[in-house]
Symmetry: C2
Subunit: 227 residues, 2 copies
């Protein structure tokens, strides 16, 4: 274990993160198919062969970069959910609390160390719509467990709702989030400049309210409170 830490402290580790950072910026701007390994190499001041040495292939680089970015977000989601469960003392969580745990970490990730990096949000949203089939496996591995955990809480807070309805509406919440992330740069021009695309935190807050409202309305319309 001490050896591993030592190894990862060598100059190779620096190259690896330089490649990852360059790849993230480029893939964000132009998609996975639109970026070449040579561009990644040039931007990271390395070599095409070096990227293949560290990541095996272009697919490997894409997968590693996504995991590197998404894993901390999911960890924060679970942390917020756990925190809320602790504070509720065993009682079912309010839906808006559940969705806050799901959506807030996205905004935190987007407002990183160097100020709001609104472009990163596009990357996550786009990774779901890219046709690359190898991404499906990654998404399954990254999100299946998270989805299951959040479904447990949704079930607890809606004991009368049908399983199918909960799935559909959680799907819509996620779809709203992904769609808003992927497209939010287009809002400013469409609103004639009225809505700024820089204020990520405001958007997330609005998004949480919208998602919780849509979820509640949809569940209630299908299964009215028993009477």
């Amino acid at each position: 274990m001490a050896e591993e830490l030592k190894k990862s402290a060598t100059r190779a580790a620096g190259t690896k993160v330089r490649i990852l950072t360059a790849a993230e910026h480029l893939f964000t701007a132009r998609g996975f198919a639109g970026v070449t390994m040579r561009e990644v190499a040039r931007r990271s001041a390395t070599n095409v062969a070096s990227a293949h040495y560290h990541f095996g292939s272009k697919e490997g680089l894409v997968i590693e970069m996504l995991r590197h970015r998404i894993a901390p977000i999911n960890a924060e989601r679970l942390r917020l959910l756990d925190e809320a469960k602790h504070q509720s003392g065993g009682k079912p969580l309010e839906p808006i609390v559940i969705f806050t745990a799901l959506l807030l970490p996205i905004g935190q990730a987007a407002t990183g160390s160097k100020g709001p990096d609104s472009r990163f949000m596009q990357l996550v949203g786009r990774s779901f719509t890219e046709p690359a089939s190898f991404l499906e496996k990654v998404h399954r591995r990254l999100f299946q467990e998270l989805s299951d955990i959040f479904m447990v809480e949704l079930r607890r807070s809606h004991p009368d709702a049908q399983e199918e309805d909960l799935f559909w509406n959680l799907h819509f919440v996620v779809a709203t989030m992904l769609g808003a992330l992927a497209n939010h740069r287009r809002l400013a021009p469409f609103s004639g400049g009225l809505c700024k695309d820089k204020d990520v935190a405001e958007m997330i807050q609005r998004l949480i309210v919208f998602a919780a409202g849509g979820f509640a309305s949809s569940i209630e319309n299908i299964k009215p409170r028993s009477n």
Copy 2:
């Protein structure tokens, strides 16, 4: 004019729609960057040079195919909205009516002549998240006017709401639609098979309820009914 009709009845027109159809299927399955002109040519039983002859370039083919598919959907949206305005007799429309006019034609387009073509829905959703910059101009031309018209009705039905809030929440409705379209094939595996991805009509109905609920909840939370 008679000459144009005659011209468009020549064998060239047949080639053109064969190319468009082949392009639609391929782009749907693998994205714009993931499909080559040679594949389009092979699938349409033509030639690479023929596609360039008719569409000028790969970009031209993509643009023409999108317009060919989206224009009828937008026409149907405006028709439904007009129909609703006629039936309401000058009174502001209910939000759910507005969103039905916006979302229902998508489902109709997806359940085409040869039964539900659920894959087409991905294409529309993806066209918004693809990084290809030339698509932004197309989207502006295809959707700006539509957006303006629907905003007019939203304003009429929410006279007390602030312009900015209406924009944000219309954006969320569109984001939900696009996200749901682009990702809806992933719902089935994530739900363990409980939610089928074939029943497009059911999804659209659920989507309308969700969107209207989210919109209403969000507008009300920000600006409570005057009291």
